[in-house]
């Protein structure tokens, strides 16, 4: 099964889902069958004045993940993820990475048709 990228505050399955997609601390790239994972650091976006969502989308696209689970996605990142065919599950910010994946596997995460954050620039 395809890998899942979860925006994460830390490098383990019990870390909390980072509510921000673009400026997430990093992404847990998880194989949902085995729960094997890699952590990809996204710290570089913390210092960007703008374009964090675009850069994070480049990072996630490079991991080969086909699903993103996160809290909030802005319009530009959403456009990019959609163009690559990565499905986006939003509003998962009150969970751990493990719980977010469990909910996704149970079919409890509705895939987004639109971004749920206005982003920081019009």
């Amino acid at each position: 099964m395809a890998k899942i990228a979860v925006s994460s505050e830390g490098p383990d399955l019990d870390a909390r889902v980072d509510p921000r997609f673009g400026r997430a601390a990093g992404f847990m790239i998880v194989d949902p069958q085995t729960m094997a994972f890699d952590f990809v650091d996204n710290g570089a976006t913390q210092v960007m004045a703008q374009g964090a969502g675009i850069q994070a989308a480049e990072l996630v696209a490079g991991t080969g993940a086909s699903v993103v689970l996160t809290g909030y996605v802005g319009p530009k990142a959403f456009r990019a993820l959609s163009a690559v065919g990565i499905a986006v599950g939003q509003n998962l910010n009150d969970l751990t990475v493990r719980d977010a994946i469990r909910r996704f596997q149970q079919g409890d995460v509705e895939m987004a048709a639109a971004p749920n954050s206005r982003g920081h620039r019009a």
């Binding site: 374009g51 675009i54 850069q55 989308a57 480049e58 993820l81 690559v84 019009a122």
Partner: protein, 294 residues
């Protein structure tokens, strides 16, 4: 001579001062509204509009057939205006500052300059005053590119035109404000004697100091608030060029869209003196002349 009327704090009277200066300027003058996010100088000068044309910035357009996804463009772009997501290339035109680095560096010649509309450049005539204004397109996030186009239109680069120029600058001390004052020979800072006015005056003074331009202060609503602005000017050797009193007839004239030097005769001498002091700041007497006068 180019005079920029700036402030730091908004609402201190930049446009009031700009319009008044333009109306009594003793030489041929162009009045320029560079507060492109919310231009209002025309409301006071009432120019007859001669021309109104769209202004553009160059943004990348990518030929996806030619592009090899080498990432040279996205790596050099400081604003993430180009993203490469796996095999997908996308541009984000609203992020682009128009520097042209992407099509310069592209080894495949896969990027050509396209266009994004920034807004309008409006020109006209108000009696003897030439009038030029930039008006930002609603939704456009960046004003300096349009401001640069207005300045190019004025012919500031490479040689200044044969007329004097009065620039009504935007408030603040960030890129738009710097862009408005950087070509000036004199910067006039309009402030008010309140803590807020003083705070932003000091910010503007600090922001513009590296430009090494002569600066002076106009204190508007001069008889309200405190004397702290006066003390600050004295302490930092910032000359006070004029003090506009807090008067009902001035406020009424402003509210009717009138130029205060025309509507309120009592302020005229104050602005005549201001014009002379601005000229003095632009061309300080040489030491030998000072000796002669002494």
């Amino acid at each position: 001579m180019i005079v920029a009327v700036a402030s730091g704090k908004g609402g201190t009277g930049k446009t009031t001062v700009s319009a008044s200066l333009a109306s009594i300027w003793p030489a041929p003058v162009i009045a320029v509204d560079l507060d492109v996010e919310e231009p209002n100088l025309h409301l006071f000068l009432n120019p007859v509009i001669r021309d109104q044309k769209a202004s553009y910035i160059d943004i990348p357009e990518i030929d996806e057939e030619r592009c090899t996804r080498c990432r040279a463009c996205t790596d050099i772009c400081q604003f993430k205006a180009i993203g490469i997501f796996g095999e997908v290339v996308m541009t984000f035109p609203e992020m682009c500052h128009g520097c042209g680095a992407c099509w310069t560096i592209c080894p495949e010649n896969a990027i050509a300059p396209g266009k994004r509309e920034l807004g309008q450049i409006v020109t006209g005539q108000a009696g003897p005053i030439e009038f030029v204004m930039g008006r930002l397109r609603v939704g456009e996030a960046m004003s300096p590119p349009l401001m640069r186009n207005v300045k190019r239109h004025l012919g500031l680069d490479p040689t200044p035109p044969d007329r004097d120029i009065i620039i009504d600058a935007p408030p603040g001390v960030s890129c738009p404000a710097i862009n408005a004052v950087m070509d000036a020979d004199v910067i006039v800072l309009v402030t008010e004697p309140t803590p807020f006015g003083l705070y932003d005056l000091a910010l503007a003074q600090k922001a513009f100091a590296p430009l090494e331009k002569p600066m002076g202060v106009v204190i508007n609503r001069a008889d309200i608030g405190t004397r702290d602005v006066h003390r600050h000017c004295q302490k930092t050797a910032l000359p006070i060029l004029a003090e506009i009193p807090y008067q009902r007839d001035i406020a009424e004239a402003y509210a009717r869209g009138q130029i205060i030097t025309e509507a309120v005769p009592s302020v005229r001498p104050l602005f005549d003196a201001l014009v002379k002091r601005i000229a003095g700041l632009a061309n300080p007497p040489s030491p030998s002349e000072e000796v002669c006068h002494a």
